[in-house]
Protein backbone atom coordinates (compact mmCIF):
# COMPACT_ATOMS: atom_id res chain seq x y z
CA UNK A 1 0.00 0.00 0.00
CA UNK A 2 1.60 3.24 -1.12
CA UNK A 3 0.01 5.11 1.78
CA UNK A 4 1.51 2.93 4.45
CA UNK A 5 4.90 3.06 2.78
CA UNK A 6 5.02 6.81 3.16
CA UNK A 7 8.11 7.38 5.18
CA UNK A 8 7.20 7.37 8.84
CA UNK A 9 10.12 9.71 9.46
CA UNK A 10 8.47 12.46 7.50
CA UNK A 11 5.49 12.21 9.82
CA UNK A 12 7.58 13.81 12.53
CA UNK A 13 7.24 17.20 10.92
CA UNK A 14 3.43 17.07 10.90
CA UNK A 15 1.40 18.39 13.81
CA UNK A 16 -1.66 16.49 12.62
CA UNK A 17 -1.87 13.14 10.84
CA UNK A 18 -5.17 11.35 10.29
CA UNK A 19 -5.71 8.31 8.13
CA UNK A 20 -8.80 6.48 7.09
CA UNK A 21 -9.44 3.30 5.07
CA UNK A 22 -12.62 4.62 3.56
CA UNK A 23 -12.71 8.29 2.67
CA UNK A 24 -16.51 8.23 2.41
CA UNK A 25 -16.64 8.11 6.18
CA UNK A 26 -15.46 11.69 6.24
CA UNK A 27 -16.53 13.03 2.83
CA UNK A 28 -20.18 12.17 3.37
CA UNK A 29 -20.39 13.94 6.68
CA UNK A 30 -18.62 16.99 5.28
CA UNK A 31 -21.16 17.12 2.44
CA UNK A 32 -23.82 17.49 5.12
CA UNK A 33 -22.41 20.88 6.11
CA UNK A 34 -21.34 22.22 2.70
CA UNK A 35 -23.26 25.43 2.15
CA UNK A 36 -20.40 27.91 2.28
CA UNK A 37 -16.83 27.58 1.05
CA UNK A 38 -15.06 28.45 4.27
CA UNK A 39 -14.74 25.72 6.85
CA UNK A 40 -12.98 25.97 10.18
CA UNK A 41 -11.18 22.79 11.22
CA UNK A 42 -10.34 22.27 14.84
CA UNK A 43 -8.67 19.08 15.91
CA UNK A 44 -8.17 17.88 19.47
CA UNK A 45 -7.10 14.46 20.71
CA UNK A 46 -10.81 13.57 20.77
CA UNK A 47 -11.21 14.07 17.06
CA UNK A 48 -12.08 16.61 14.43
CA UNK A 49 -14.71 19.32 14.48
CA UNK A 50 -15.54 21.12 11.23
CA UNK A 51 -17.59 24.32 11.38
CA UNK A 52 -19.37 26.23 8.62
CA UNK A 53 -21.32 29.44 9.22
CA UNK A 54 -23.72 31.68 7.36
CA UNK A 55 -24.57 35.33 8.12
CA UNK A 56 -23.98 35.00 11.87
CA UNK A 57 -27.36 33.26 12.12
CA UNK A 58 -26.55 29.72 11.15
CA UNK A 59 -23.80 27.40 12.23
CA UNK A 60 -23.22 23.79 11.25
CA UNK A 61 -20.76 21.51 12.96
CA UNK A 62 -19.63 18.06 11.95
CA UNK A 63 -17.99 15.94 14.60
CA UNK A 64 -15.70 13.11 13.58
CA UNK A 65 -14.36 11.29 16.61
CA UNK A 66 -10.75 10.18 16.69
CA UNK A 67 -11.71 6.51 16.68
CA UNK A 68 -13.37 6.85 13.27
CA UNK A 69 -9.82 7.19 11.93
CA UNK A 70 -7.40 4.29 11.75
CA UNK A 71 -4.69 6.70 12.82
CA UNK A 72 -5.16 10.05 14.50
CA UNK A 73 -2.03 11.75 15.78
CA UNK A 74 -1.98 15.28 17.04
CA UNK A 75 0.82 17.30 18.61
CA UNK A 76 -0.41 19.37 21.52
CA UNK A 77 -3.98 19.97 22.64
CA UNK A 78 -5.41 21.49 19.57
CA UNK A 79 -4.71 22.30 15.94
CA UNK A 80 -6.82 24.72 13.92
CA UNK A 81 -6.94 25.92 10.33
CA UNK A 82 -9.39 27.06 7.72
CA UNK A 83 -9.78 25.64 4.19
CA UNK A 84 -12.12 25.87 1.25
CA UNK A 85 -14.57 23.04 1.89
CA UNK A 86 -15.79 22.72 -1.71
CA UNK A 87 -12.21 22.25 -2.87
CA UNK A 88 -11.54 19.77 -0.08
CA UNK A 89 -14.60 17.73 -1.07
CA UNK A 90 -13.59 17.64 -4.73
CA UNK A 91 -10.20 16.34 -3.60
CA UNK A 92 -11.65 13.75 -1.22
CA UNK A 93 -13.91 12.41 -3.97
CA UNK A 94 -11.26 12.58 -6.71
CA UNK A 95 -11.83 8.92 -7.56
CA UNK A 96 -15.57 9.41 -7.79
CA UNK A 97 -16.53 8.34 -4.27
CA UNK A 98 -17.51 4.85 -5.35
CA UNK A 99 -20.26 3.13 -3.39
CA UNK A 100 -19.34 -0.27 -4.80
CA UNK A 101 -18.64 -2.60 -1.86
CA UNK A 102 -14.99 -3.54 -1.67
CA UNK A 103 -13.88 -0.48 -3.60
CA UNK A 104 -12.88 2.36 -1.37
CA UNK A 105 -10.48 5.24 -1.36
CA UNK A 106 -7.92 5.33 1.45
CA UNK A 107 -6.93 8.70 2.84
CA UNK A 108 -3.97 10.10 4.73
CA UNK A 109 -4.37 13.72 5.75
CA UNK A 110 -1.39 15.69 7.07
CA UNK A 111 -0.84 19.24 8.28
CA UNK A 112 2.49 20.81 9.18
CA UNK A 113 1.18 23.93 10.84
CA UNK A 114 0.44 27.56 10.20
CA UNK A 115 1.32 28.67 6.70
CA UNK A 116 1.49 25.14 5.31
CA UNK A 117 -1.03 23.46 3.04
CA UNK A 118 -3.29 20.63 4.11
CA UNK A 119 -1.83 17.63 2.30
CA UNK A 120 -4.00 14.70 1.27
CA UNK A 121 -2.73 11.36 -0.02
CA UNK A 122 -5.55 9.39 -1.60
CA UNK A 123 -5.24 5.91 -3.00
CA UNK A 124 -7.65 3.64 -4.80
CA UNK A 125 -6.71 0.49 -6.70
CA UNK A 126 -3.03 1.40 -6.78
CA UNK A 127 -3.58 4.89 -8.18
CA UNK A 128 -2.36 7.69 -5.91
CA UNK A 129 -3.49 11.29 -5.84
CA UNK A 130 -1.66 13.96 -3.88
CA UNK A 131 -3.50 17.19 -3.06
CA UNK A 132 -2.13 20.30 -1.42
CA UNK A 133 -4.87 22.65 -0.29
CA UNK A 134 -3.97 26.12 0.91
CA UNK A 135 -4.96 26.91 4.49
CA UNK A 136 -5.71 30.10 6.36
CA UNK A 137 -5.69 31.06 9.97
CA UNK A 138 -8.94 29.88 11.55
CA UNK A 139 -11.60 32.40 12.51
CA UNK A 140 -13.27 32.09 15.86
CA UNK A 141 -16.60 30.27 15.46
CA UNK A 142 -19.68 32.03 16.84
CA UNK A 143 -20.74 30.86 20.27
CA UNK A 144 -24.49 30.36 20.14
CA UNK A 145 -24.52 29.73 23.87
CA UNK A 146 -27.04 26.97 23.48
CA UNK A 147 -26.98 24.86 26.61
CA UNK A 148 -29.10 21.90 27.46
CA UNK A 149 -30.18 23.43 30.77
CA UNK A 150 -32.07 26.14 28.85
CA UNK A 151 -33.84 23.72 26.53
CA UNK A 152 -37.59 24.11 26.75
CA UNK A 153 -38.72 21.61 24.16
CA UNK A 154 -37.13 18.57 22.62
CA UNK A 155 -38.26 15.83 20.28
CA UNK A 156 -36.32 13.02 18.66
CA UNK A 157 -37.68 11.77 15.36
CA UNK A 158 -36.65 9.09 12.94
CA UNK A 159 -35.22 11.06 10.04
CA UNK A 160 -37.37 9.23 7.50
CA UNK A 161 -40.47 11.13 8.48
CA UNK A 162 -38.80 14.55 8.39
CA UNK A 163 -37.15 13.87 5.04
CA UNK A 164 -40.55 13.67 3.44
CA UNK A 165 -41.62 16.97 4.98
CA UNK A 166 -38.41 18.77 4.03
CA UNK A 167 -38.55 17.50 0.45
CA UNK A 168 -42.05 18.91 0.12
CA UNK A 169 -41.47 22.28 1.82
CA UNK A 170 -43.03 25.21 0.03
CA UNK A 171 -39.96 27.19 -0.94
CA UNK A 172 -42.03 30.26 -1.71
CA UNK A 173 -42.42 30.61 2.05
CA UNK A 174 -39.76 32.85 3.54
CA UNK A 175 -39.85 31.08 6.83
CA UNK A 176 -40.32 27.68 8.35
CA UNK A 177 -42.36 27.93 11.51
CA UNK A 178 -41.86 25.28 14.15
CA UNK A 179 -44.43 24.76 16.88
CA UNK A 180 -43.65 22.50 19.81
CA UNK A 181 -46.19 21.99 22.51
CA UNK A 182 -47.22 19.58 25.24
CA UNK A 183 -50.72 19.84 23.71
CA UNK A 184 -51.99 19.64 20.17
CA UNK A 185 -50.53 20.05 17.62
CA UNK A 186 -47.48 18.71 19.57
CA UNK A 187 -44.92 19.11 16.78
CA UNK A 188 -45.87 21.18 13.76
CA UNK A 189 -43.96 22.50 10.75
CA UNK A 190 -45.68 25.34 8.92
CA UNK A 191 -45.00 27.31 5.76
CA UNK A 192 -46.70 30.43 4.44
CA UNK A 193 -46.24 30.56 0.70
CA UNK A 194 -47.64 32.42 -2.28
CA UNK A 195 -50.66 30.25 -2.69
CA UNK A 196 -51.53 29.40 0.89
CA UNK A 197 -50.17 27.81 3.99
CA UNK A 198 -49.30 24.26 4.91
CA UNK A 199 -48.99 22.50 8.24
CA UNK A 200 -47.30 19.17 8.89
CA UNK A 201 -48.35 17.72 12.23
CA UNK A 202 -46.54 14.87 13.99
CA UNK A 203 -48.53 13.35 16.85
CA UNK A 204 -46.53 12.68 20.00
CA UNK A 205 -47.46 9.01 19.95
CA UNK A 206 -46.33 8.46 16.35
CA UNK A 207 -44.00 5.52 15.95
CA UNK A 208 -41.63 7.95 14.25
CA UNK A 209 -41.37 9.93 17.48
CA UNK A 210 -38.64 8.42 19.67
CA UNK A 211 -38.74 11.04 22.37
CA UNK A 212 -41.21 13.79 23.17
CA UNK A 213 -40.28 16.25 25.90
CA UNK A 214 -42.17 19.47 25.48
CA UNK A 215 -42.82 21.56 28.53
CA UNK A 216 -44.42 24.67 27.06
CA UNK A 217 -45.97 25.80 23.83
CA UNK A 218 -43.41 27.56 21.70
CA UNK A 219 -43.75 28.84 18.16
CA UNK A 220 -40.71 30.18 16.33
CA UNK A 221 -39.92 31.12 12.78
CA UNK A 222 -36.63 30.44 11.02
CA UNK A 223 -35.50 31.70 7.64
CA UNK A 224 -36.15 29.02 5.06
CA UNK A 225 -32.97 29.95 3.21
CA UNK A 226 -30.95 29.26 6.35
CA UNK A 227 -32.58 25.95 7.15
CA UNK A 228 -32.52 24.58 3.60
CA UNK A 229 -28.86 23.40 3.79
CA UNK A 230 -29.69 21.22 6.79
CA UNK A 231 -31.64 19.00 4.38
CA UNK A 232 -28.28 17.56 3.31
CA UNK A 233 -27.59 16.42 6.86
CA UNK A 234 -31.11 15.10 7.21
CA UNK A 235 -30.72 13.02 4.07
CA UNK A 236 -27.70 11.21 5.54
CA UNK A 237 -29.00 10.77 9.05
CA UNK A 238 -31.10 8.12 10.69
CA UNK A 239 -32.33 10.15 13.67
CA UNK A 240 -32.74 13.82 14.34
CA UNK A 241 -33.14 15.66 17.62
CA UNK A 242 -34.99 18.98 17.44
CA UNK A 243 -34.52 21.30 20.40
CA UNK A 244 -35.41 24.89 21.17
CA UNK A 245 -34.21 26.95 24.10
CA UNK A 246 -35.96 29.70 26.01
CA UNK A 247 -34.70 32.30 23.48
CA UNK A 248 -36.18 30.35 20.57
CA UNK A 249 -32.79 29.27 19.24
CA UNK A 250 -33.03 26.03 17.29
CA UNK A 251 -30.67 23.10 17.55
CA UNK A 252 -30.92 20.25 15.08
CA UNK A 253 -28.73 17.28 15.87
CA UNK A 254 -28.37 14.56 13.28
CA UNK A 255 -27.12 11.10 14.04
CA UNK A 256 -25.28 9.78 11.00
CA UNK A 257 -24.21 6.17 10.61
CA UNK A 258 -21.25 5.69 8.25
CA UNK A 259 -20.43 2.80 5.90
CA UNK A 260 -18.81 0.90 8.75
CA UNK A 261 -21.73 1.35 11.11
CA UNK A 262 -19.94 3.93 13.28
CA UNK A 263 -21.82 6.95 14.51
CA UNK A 264 -21.02 10.61 13.87
CA UNK A 265 -22.95 13.76 14.63
CA UNK A 266 -23.84 16.83 12.66
CA UNK A 267 -25.36 19.79 14.44
CA UNK A 268 -27.07 22.89 13.08
CA UNK A 269 -27.81 25.99 15.18
CA UNK A 270 -30.19 28.61 13.87
CA UNK A 271 -31.38 31.96 15.25
CA UNK A 272 -35.10 32.63 15.25
CA UNK A 273 -36.27 34.99 12.54
CA UNK A 274 -38.68 37.27 14.38
CA UNK A 275 -41.18 37.44 17.14
CA UNK A 276 -44.27 35.52 16.13
CA UNK A 277 -47.47 37.44 16.02
CA UNK A 278 -50.50 35.50 16.98
CA UNK A 279 -52.51 34.69 13.92
Amino acid sequence: MPLSTQSQDSDAQYILVASLDNVRNISNILKAITFKDHAIFSATPNGLKVTVEDSKCLQANAFIQADIFQEFTIKGDSVGFQVNLTVLLDCLTIFGGSTVPGVSTALRMCYMGYGYPLTLFLEEGGVVTVCKINTQEPEEPIDFDFCSSNVTNKVILQSESLKEAFSELDMTSEVLQITMSPNQPYFRLSTFGNSGNAHYDYPKDSDMMELFQCTQTQTNRYKMSLLKPSTKALALSCKVSVRTDSRGFLSLQYLVRNDDGQICFVEYFCCPDEEVRDD
Binding site: E164, E168, S195, A198, Y200, D201, D207
Partner: protein, 344 residues
Protein backbone atom coordinates in the same frame (compact mmCIF):
# COMPACT_ATOMS: atom_id res chain seq x y z
CA UNK B 1 -67.84 20.60 -0.83
CA UNK B 2 -66.50 17.93 1.39
CA UNK B 3 -65.06 14.76 -0.06
CA UNK B 4 -62.65 11.97 0.77
CA UNK B 5 -60.41 9.95 -1.51
CA UNK B 6 -58.76 6.81 -0.22
CA UNK B 7 -56.27 4.15 -1.27
CA UNK B 8 -55.14 3.92 -4.87
CA UNK B 9 -57.53 6.64 -5.93
CA UNK B 10 -55.33 9.25 -4.23
CA UNK B 11 -52.66 8.48 -6.79
CA UNK B 12 -55.18 8.64 -9.64
CA UNK B 13 -56.22 12.08 -8.46
CA UNK B 14 -52.60 13.18 -8.13
CA UNK B 15 -51.75 11.93 -11.62
CA UNK B 16 -54.76 13.77 -13.01
CA UNK B 17 -53.53 17.02 -11.47
CA UNK B 18 -50.06 16.46 -12.88
CA UNK B 19 -51.60 15.84 -16.30
CA UNK B 20 -53.61 19.04 -16.04
CA UNK B 21 -50.47 20.93 -15.11
CA UNK B 22 -49.18 20.16 -18.61
CA UNK B 23 -52.06 22.20 -19.98
CA UNK B 24 -52.36 25.42 -18.03
CA UNK B 25 -51.40 27.37 -14.93
CA UNK B 26 -54.77 27.29 -13.26
CA UNK B 27 -56.96 24.51 -12.03
CA UNK B 28 -60.72 25.06 -12.24
CA UNK B 29 -62.69 23.07 -9.68
CA UNK B 30 -66.39 22.54 -9.91
CA UNK B 31 -68.26 20.18 -7.60
CA UNK B 32 -71.41 19.02 -9.32
CA UNK B 33 -74.15 16.46 -8.77
CA UNK B 34 -72.52 14.04 -11.18
CA UNK B 35 -69.09 14.43 -9.66
CA UNK B 36 -66.10 16.67 -9.23
CA UNK B 37 -64.68 18.25 -12.36
CA UNK B 38 -61.14 19.48 -12.64
CA UNK B 39 -60.31 21.52 -15.70
CA UNK B 40 -57.52 23.54 -17.20
CA UNK B 41 -56.91 25.52 -20.34
CA UNK B 42 -53.66 26.80 -21.81
CA UNK B 43 -52.82 30.46 -22.20
CA UNK B 44 -53.39 30.55 -25.94
CA UNK B 45 -56.72 28.77 -25.50
CA UNK B 46 -55.71 26.07 -27.91
CA UNK B 47 -55.83 23.23 -25.40
CA UNK B 48 -58.41 22.34 -22.80
CA UNK B 49 -58.62 19.38 -20.46
CA UNK B 50 -61.32 18.12 -18.16
CA UNK B 51 -61.42 15.29 -15.64
CA UNK B 52 -64.77 14.28 -14.19
CA UNK B 53 -64.57 12.07 -11.12
CA UNK B 54 -67.94 10.52 -10.38
CA UNK B 55 -69.22 10.40 -6.77
CA UNK B 56 -68.34 6.70 -6.71
CA UNK B 57 -64.68 7.59 -7.11
CA UNK B 58 -64.82 9.06 -3.60
CA UNK B 59 -65.45 7.31 -0.32
CA UNK B 60 -67.40 10.39 0.67
CA UNK B 61 -68.79 13.02 -1.66
CA UNK B 62 -70.96 15.79 -0.31
CA UNK B 63 -71.79 19.04 -2.06
CA UNK B 64 -73.95 21.88 -0.80
CA UNK B 65 -77.49 22.17 -2.09
CA UNK B 66 -78.50 25.02 -4.26
CA UNK B 67 -76.48 26.88 -6.80
CA UNK B 68 -73.27 25.50 -8.08
CA UNK B 69 -70.00 26.72 -6.71
CA UNK B 70 -66.75 26.83 -8.56
CA UNK B 71 -63.29 28.25 -8.19
CA UNK B 72 -59.84 28.30 -9.63
CA UNK B 73 -56.47 27.84 -7.94
CA UNK B 74 -52.89 27.96 -9.08
CA UNK B 75 -52.23 24.48 -10.34
CA UNK B 76 -48.67 24.54 -8.97
CA UNK B 77 -49.96 24.84 -5.44
CA UNK B 78 -52.21 21.81 -5.86
CA UNK B 79 -49.36 19.91 -7.46
CA UNK B 80 -47.29 20.73 -4.38
CA UNK B 81 -49.85 18.92 -2.22
CA UNK B 82 -49.07 15.74 -4.15
CA UNK B 83 -45.39 16.44 -4.67
CA UNK B 84 -43.99 13.05 -3.73
CA UNK B 85 -45.86 11.18 -6.45
CA UNK B 86 -43.60 8.15 -6.28
CA UNK B 87 -44.17 7.48 -2.60
CA UNK B 88 -47.76 8.70 -2.48
CA UNK B 89 -49.23 5.25 -2.67
CA UNK B 90 -47.17 4.02 0.25
CA UNK B 91 -47.50 7.05 2.49
CA UNK B 92 -50.96 8.57 2.04
CA UNK B 93 -53.89 6.66 3.46
CA UNK B 94 -56.62 9.20 2.97
CA UNK B 95 -57.06 12.55 1.30
CA UNK B 96 -59.74 14.92 2.49
CA UNK B 97 -60.72 17.82 0.23
CA UNK B 98 -62.80 20.63 1.62
CA UNK B 99 -63.98 23.70 -0.26
CA UNK B 100 -65.09 26.49 2.03
CA UNK B 101 -66.76 29.23 0.01
CA UNK B 102 -67.09 31.61 2.93
CA UNK B 103 -63.46 31.49 3.95
CA UNK B 104 -62.39 31.25 0.32
CA UNK B 105 -60.29 28.33 1.25
CA UNK B 106 -59.60 25.03 -0.41
CA UNK B 107 -58.14 22.57 2.06
CA UNK B 108 -56.39 19.33 1.27
CA UNK B 109 -55.67 17.17 4.27
CA UNK B 110 -53.50 14.12 3.75
CA UNK B 111 -53.63 11.47 6.44
CA UNK B 112 -50.30 9.70 6.18
CA UNK B 113 -48.50 6.76 7.70
CA UNK B 114 -47.28 7.12 11.29
CA UNK B 115 -50.03 9.59 12.11
CA UNK B 116 -48.46 12.40 10.10
CA UNK B 117 -51.09 14.90 9.07
CA UNK B 118 -50.43 17.28 6.17
CA UNK B 119 -52.79 20.19 5.82
CA UNK B 120 -52.61 22.52 2.83
CA UNK B 121 -54.82 25.59 2.90
CA UNK B 122 -54.94 27.12 -0.55
CA UNK B 123 -56.54 30.40 -1.39
CA UNK B 124 -58.72 30.46 -4.47
CA UNK B 125 -60.58 32.83 -6.72
CA UNK B 126 -64.15 32.52 -7.83
CA UNK B 127 -64.34 31.74 -11.46
CA UNK B 128 -66.69 31.40 -14.33
CA UNK B 129 -67.27 27.87 -15.42
CA UNK B 130 -64.84 26.67 -17.98
CA UNK B 131 -66.79 24.54 -20.35
CA UNK B 132 -65.88 23.09 -23.67
CA UNK B 133 -68.68 22.22 -25.98
CA UNK B 134 -67.74 19.38 -28.21
CA UNK B 135 -69.52 16.41 -29.58
CA UNK B 136 -66.95 13.72 -29.95
CA UNK B 137 -69.50 11.10 -30.98
CA UNK B 138 -70.15 13.00 -34.19
CA UNK B 139 -66.48 12.76 -35.17
CA UNK B 140 -65.58 11.35 -38.53
CA UNK B 141 -62.68 9.35 -37.22
CA UNK B 142 -62.21 7.42 -34.00
CA UNK B 143 -59.13 5.51 -32.92
CA UNK B 144 -58.70 3.71 -29.63
CA UNK B 145 -55.37 2.40 -28.42
CA UNK B 146 -53.62 1.12 -25.34
CA UNK B 147 -51.47 3.83 -23.79
CA UNK B 148 -48.39 1.69 -24.43
CA UNK B 149 -48.86 1.94 -28.20
CA UNK B 150 -49.07 5.72 -28.14
CA UNK B 151 -46.25 6.01 -25.63
CA UNK B 152 -44.01 3.88 -27.87
CA UNK B 153 -45.01 6.03 -30.80
CA UNK B 154 -44.24 9.29 -29.04
CA UNK B 155 -40.84 7.92 -28.00
CA UNK B 156 -39.74 8.02 -31.62
CA UNK B 157 -39.87 11.79 -31.53
CA UNK B 158 -37.43 14.02 -29.68
CA UNK B 159 -38.69 15.47 -26.38
CA UNK B 160 -38.24 18.95 -27.82
CA UNK B 161 -40.75 18.30 -30.61
CA UNK B 162 -43.79 20.51 -30.19
CA UNK B 163 -46.29 19.40 -32.77
CA UNK B 164 -47.13 16.16 -34.44
CA UNK B 165 -49.16 15.49 -37.58
CA UNK B 166 -51.43 12.47 -37.60
CA UNK B 167 -52.70 11.19 -40.93
CA UNK B 168 -55.24 8.38 -41.25
CA UNK B 169 -56.30 6.19 -44.12
CA UNK B 170 -58.58 3.15 -44.18
CA UNK B 171 -56.04 0.89 -42.56
CA UNK B 172 -53.07 2.92 -41.45
CA UNK B 173 -52.03 5.85 -39.31
CA UNK B 174 -48.95 7.98 -39.86
CA UNK B 175 -47.37 10.10 -37.17
CA UNK B 176 -44.95 12.77 -38.37
CA UNK B 177 -43.05 15.54 -36.67
CA UNK B 178 -44.43 18.85 -37.79
CA UNK B 179 -41.75 21.24 -38.99
CA UNK B 180 -42.47 24.90 -38.72
CA UNK B 181 -42.43 26.69 -42.04
CA UNK B 182 -39.95 29.17 -40.63
CA UNK B 183 -37.50 26.41 -39.79
CA UNK B 184 -34.77 25.77 -42.29
CA UNK B 185 -35.88 22.56 -43.99
CA UNK B 186 -32.31 21.46 -44.64
CA UNK B 187 -31.67 21.32 -40.89
CA UNK B 188 -34.62 19.44 -39.54
CA UNK B 189 -34.80 15.69 -39.36
CA UNK B 190 -38.16 14.34 -40.47
CA UNK B 191 -39.49 11.33 -38.67
CA UNK B 192 -42.47 9.30 -39.75
CA UNK B 193 -44.00 6.32 -38.01
CA UNK B 194 -46.59 4.15 -39.66
CA UNK B 195 -48.97 2.01 -37.59
CA UNK B 196 -51.36 -0.53 -38.93
CA UNK B 197 -55.03 -0.54 -37.94
CA UNK B 198 -54.44 -3.95 -36.36
CA UNK B 199 -52.52 -2.35 -33.55
CA UNK B 200 -55.53 -0.38 -32.38
CA UNK B 201 -58.34 -1.60 -30.13
CA UNK B 202 -60.78 0.27 -32.30
CA UNK B 203 -60.22 1.85 -35.69
CA UNK B 204 -63.02 3.68 -37.46
CA UNK B 205 -61.92 6.01 -40.24
CA UNK B 206 -64.68 7.39 -42.38
CA UNK B 207 -62.58 9.93 -44.25
CA UNK B 208 -58.87 10.16 -44.90
CA UNK B 209 -57.57 13.20 -43.12
CA UNK B 210 -54.63 14.79 -41.49
CA UNK B 211 -54.47 16.83 -38.29
CA UNK B 212 -51.60 18.63 -36.57
CA UNK B 213 -51.68 19.27 -32.84
CA UNK B 214 -49.42 19.84 -29.86
CA UNK B 215 -47.61 16.85 -28.45
CA UNK B 216 -47.17 18.27 -24.97
CA UNK B 217 -50.75 17.70 -23.92
CA UNK B 218 -50.85 14.24 -25.43
CA UNK B 219 -47.73 13.43 -23.41
CA UNK B 220 -49.50 14.75 -20.32
CA UNK B 221 -52.51 12.54 -20.88
CA UNK B 222 -50.28 9.57 -21.62
CA UNK B 223 -48.71 9.85 -18.18
CA UNK B 224 -52.17 9.55 -16.70
CA UNK B 225 -53.36 6.80 -19.03
CA UNK B 226 -50.23 4.74 -18.50
CA UNK B 227 -50.47 4.94 -14.73
CA UNK B 228 -54.11 3.91 -14.76
CA UNK B 229 -53.69 1.43 -17.63
CA UNK B 230 -56.72 2.85 -19.42
CA UNK B 231 -56.93 3.06 -23.22
CA UNK B 232 -56.98 6.41 -25.00
CA UNK B 233 -59.54 7.24 -27.66
CA UNK B 234 -58.87 9.88 -30.25
CA UNK B 235 -61.75 11.64 -32.01
CA UNK B 236 -61.13 14.00 -34.93
CA UNK B 237 -62.44 15.30 -38.21
CA UNK B 238 -59.92 17.31 -40.13
CA UNK B 239 -57.62 20.30 -40.11
CA UNK B 240 -58.82 23.18 -38.02
CA UNK B 241 -61.38 21.32 -35.97
CA UNK B 242 -60.28 20.10 -32.58
CA UNK B 243 -59.06 16.63 -31.77
CA UNK B 244 -60.52 15.09 -28.61
CA UNK B 245 -58.49 12.61 -26.58
CA UNK B 246 -60.55 10.61 -24.10
CA UNK B 247 -59.85 8.26 -21.25
CA UNK B 248 -62.85 6.81 -19.46
CA UNK B 249 -63.85 4.14 -17.05
CA UNK B 250 -66.77 3.62 -14.71
CA UNK B 251 -65.78 6.36 -12.25
CA UNK B 252 -63.96 8.86 -14.37
CA UNK B 253 -64.33 10.63 -17.66
CA UNK B 254 -61.41 12.53 -19.11
CA UNK B 255 -61.35 14.66 -22.22
CA UNK B 256 -58.49 16.64 -23.68
CA UNK B 257 -59.58 18.97 -26.45
CA UNK B 258 -56.74 20.24 -28.61
CA UNK B 259 -56.82 22.71 -31.43
CA UNK B 260 -55.42 21.52 -34.72
CA UNK B 261 -53.61 23.52 -37.35
CA UNK B 262 -56.20 25.08 -39.55
CA UNK B 263 -53.98 25.93 -42.43
CA UNK B 264 -53.26 22.63 -44.06
CA UNK B 265 -50.91 24.30 -46.53
CA UNK B 266 -48.59 24.69 -43.58
CA UNK B 267 -48.26 20.95 -43.44
CA UNK B 268 -45.46 19.48 -45.45
CA UNK B 269 -46.65 18.94 -48.94
CA UNK B 270 -44.05 16.60 -50.26
CA UNK B 271 -45.83 13.57 -49.00
CA UNK B 272 -48.20 12.07 -51.53
CA UNK B 273 -50.25 10.40 -48.81
CA UNK B 274 -51.43 13.79 -47.82
CA UNK B 275 -52.68 14.72 -51.25
CA UNK B 276 -56.38 14.36 -51.68
CA UNK B 277 -57.10 14.63 -48.00
CA UNK B 278 -60.65 15.85 -47.98
CA UNK B 279 -61.15 18.95 -45.94
CA UNK B 280 -64.35 19.05 -43.94
CA UNK B 281 -66.80 21.61 -45.26
CA UNK B 282 -66.36 24.94 -43.56
CA UNK B 283 -69.04 27.48 -43.11
CA UNK B 284 -67.13 30.56 -44.11
CA UNK B 285 -69.72 32.97 -42.92
CA UNK B 286 -69.85 31.50 -39.44
CA UNK B 287 -66.10 31.38 -39.23
CA UNK B 288 -65.67 35.00 -40.11
CA UNK B 289 -68.22 36.01 -37.55
CA UNK B 290 -66.47 34.08 -34.87
CA UNK B 291 -63.03 35.44 -35.55
CA UNK B 292 -64.17 39.02 -35.45
CA UNK B 293 -66.18 38.38 -32.33
CA UNK B 294 -63.21 36.86 -30.61
CA UNK B 295 -60.98 39.79 -31.44
CA UNK B 296 -63.60 42.20 -30.24
CA UNK B 297 -64.09 40.43 -26.96
CA UNK B 298 -60.59 39.77 -25.95
CA UNK B 299 -57.42 41.42 -26.99
CA UNK B 300 -55.34 39.91 -24.25
CA UNK B 301 -54.99 36.51 -25.75
CA UNK B 302 -52.86 36.09 -28.76
CA UNK B 303 -53.28 32.61 -30.12
CA UNK B 304 -50.35 31.19 -32.05
CA UNK B 305 -50.27 32.09 -35.69
CA UNK B 306 -51.64 28.83 -36.88
CA UNK B 307 -53.63 27.29 -34.04
CA UNK B 308 -57.17 28.49 -33.81
CA UNK B 309 -58.23 29.36 -30.30
CA UNK B 310 -60.67 26.82 -28.99
CA UNK B 311 -62.20 28.96 -26.37
CA UNK B 312 -64.25 31.42 -28.32
CA UNK B 313 -66.98 30.26 -26.06
CA UNK B 314 -65.57 31.17 -22.72
CA UNK B 315 -65.70 34.85 -23.47
CA UNK B 316 -69.16 35.33 -24.76
CA UNK B 317 -72.15 35.46 -22.50
CA UNK B 318 -74.95 33.00 -22.34
CA UNK B 319 -77.82 33.89 -24.52
CA UNK B 320 -75.54 35.14 -27.19
CA UNK B 321 -76.59 33.72 -30.52
CA UNK B 322 -73.10 32.35 -30.83
CA UNK B 323 -73.18 30.32 -27.65
CA UNK B 324 -74.86 27.38 -29.20
CA UNK B 325 -72.30 26.72 -31.82
CA UNK B 326 -72.10 22.99 -31.63
CA UNK B 327 -74.69 22.86 -34.33
CA UNK B 328 -72.29 24.50 -36.69
CA UNK B 329 -69.86 22.36 -38.60
CA UNK B 330 -67.01 23.77 -36.59
CA UNK B 331 -66.79 22.51 -33.05
CA UNK B 332 -65.68 25.00 -30.51
CA UNK B 333 -65.52 25.40 -26.82
CA UNK B 334 -68.29 27.33 -25.29
CA UNK B 335 -69.17 28.51 -21.86
CA UNK B 336 -72.15 28.87 -19.65
CA UNK B 337 -70.36 31.70 -17.96
CA UNK B 338 -72.45 34.49 -16.64
CA UNK B 339 -70.61 37.75 -16.95
CA UNK B 340 -66.98 37.35 -16.40
CA UNK B 341 -65.11 38.06 -19.56
CA UNK B 342 -61.87 39.19 -17.95
CA UNK B 343 -61.63 36.16 -15.73
CA UNK B 344 -60.48 33.87 -18.47
Amino acid sequence: MDCVVTGGNVKVLAKAIHSLSRIGDELYLEPQEDGLTLRSVNSSRSAYACFLFSPLFFSRYAIPDGHGFRCKVAIKSVQAVFRSLATLEKTVEKCHIELDGEKSRLTFTLHCKHGLLKTHNLSFQDSESLQAVFDKDASTNVLKAQPRLLADTVLNFPPSLEEVTVTVSDERVWFRNYVDQDAEPSKAMLTELCLSADEFDHFAVKAQSSVTFCLKELRGLLVFAESTGLPISMYFDGPGSPVVLSVTDSVLDTNFVLATLSDESAVRQQNPKRAGTPLPPLDDFMNDELESYLIAMDTSMAPGPSFRSLLFGSVYPTGSPLSNLTVAGQKVLASDSEEDPEGV
